[in-house]
């Protein structure tokens, strides 16, 4: 329970950041895919560059987690076909509803209750993937 509160607090922080930077706006995503604003590229670019520095720092200093264990960053499996094809499918949805999974939840907090339909549908979409998984290229 006490551990849960930490995750709740980090989530609150993330929700505020994405809202205040307007990442959760359909309009910002539309503008990004039209290459008509630097805003989203600036955010993702800064996050990736500082993220690379962070990961290198963690690996080189053998930085420890709260439990005293060395932080281990798991590598993504090399399923390039799935990464590309699934990525395209996700990109279609992202540009249509203008929100990726994080923002979808944050928007509920903003009172946009229609996003609940998107979330329930996304859970069902993930379920469909689970059913068809063996038939899809990976």
């Amino acid at each position: 329970m006490k551990k849960d509160i930490r995750f709740l607090l980090v989530g609150i922080f993330f929700g505020i950041v994405l809202t205040k930077a307007q990442v959760v706006s359909w309009f910002r995503i539309y503008e990004m895919f039209r290459f008509e604003s630097f805003h989203m590229y600036g955010i993702i670019g800064t996050a990736v560059v500082t993220g690379i520095i962070l990961v290198q720092f963690i690996k080189r200093t053998k930085h420890k987690s709260v439990d005293g264990l060395e932080i281990f960053i798991e590598e993504k499996p090399k399923t390039y076909k799935a990464n590309l094809l699934g990525g395209i499918i996700f990109g279609l949805g992202w540009a249509l509803v203008g929100a990726c999974p994080g923002p979808l939840y944050i928007l509920i907090g903003g009172g946009f209750f229609a996003v609940i339909i998107v979330i329930l549908s996304a859970i069902f979409g993930t379920f469909l993937y689970g059913l068809l998984r063996d038939k899809l290229p990976h």
Binding site: F7, I58, K76, A122
Partner: protein, 185 residues
């Protein structure tokens, strides 16, 4: 300080704070990736009985559900107390493009033409349902979304994540330039 609370945040601040979020989760022994929550939800709802993909100990991902609950509260706080619903001012060229689609620019965060609940519309419902299906199916097939691939994966210099992000953009550009004009004509 007042400016920080009430005005939209610049990209560099948001970018750095997203990395702070990544660090906090790593420090707590977890990895940043939000679309996994859809899979967790399937497992919680008993999908493991039908597909082995969901048959695992979802309790290990309980923290993610708590984190997601936090993001909802964060959204609430920002919208209620930090002027979160200030109009989103887009560039002039985006404005012109929106007008062609009959979508009013500079509303709050979401266009009422898609998300409005003031009347029932089959078209809107279809957009939301199909959009959700694409997001849920695509993220799991790609093994991650913007958080897991574009942020965590690229930060760790992983090729699968770069491939996935290229896919995100192929799909996003197709939707923006080919399908959205057809849908909103």
């Amino acid at each position: 300080m007042e400016k920080l609370i009430y005005e939209p945040w610049p990209w560099y601040l948001a970018g750095v704070l997203i990395t702070v979020n990544v660090y906090l989760l790593l420090y707590l022994g977890k990895k940043f990736g939000i679309s996994t929550g859809f899979k967790t939800s399937c497992s919680v709802l008993g999908a493991g009985k039908v597909a082995s993909f969901f048959n695992y100990n979802w309790k290990e991902e309980r923290w993610l559900l708590v984190y997601i609950l936090g993001t909802i509260i964060g959204g609430f706080i920002a919208f209620q107390f930090m002027n979160g619903d200030a109009p989103v001012l887009v560039s002039e060229s985006t404005k012109l493009a929106l007008e062609k689609l009959n979508i009013v620019p500079n509303q709050s965060f979401l266009p009422s033409e898609i998300y409005g609940l003031e009347f029932f519309s089959i078209k809107r419902l279809l957009i939301l349902v199909v959009g959700g299906l694409l997001i849920g199916f695509g993220t799991r097939w790609a093994d991650g979304c913007t958080s897991g691939h574009a942020i965590s994966g690229l930060s760790n210099l992983q090729l699968p994540s770069l491939v996935a992000v290229i896919g995100f953009f192929i799909g996003g550009l197709l939707m923006t330039f080919v399908f959205i004009p057809l849908i909103f004509k």
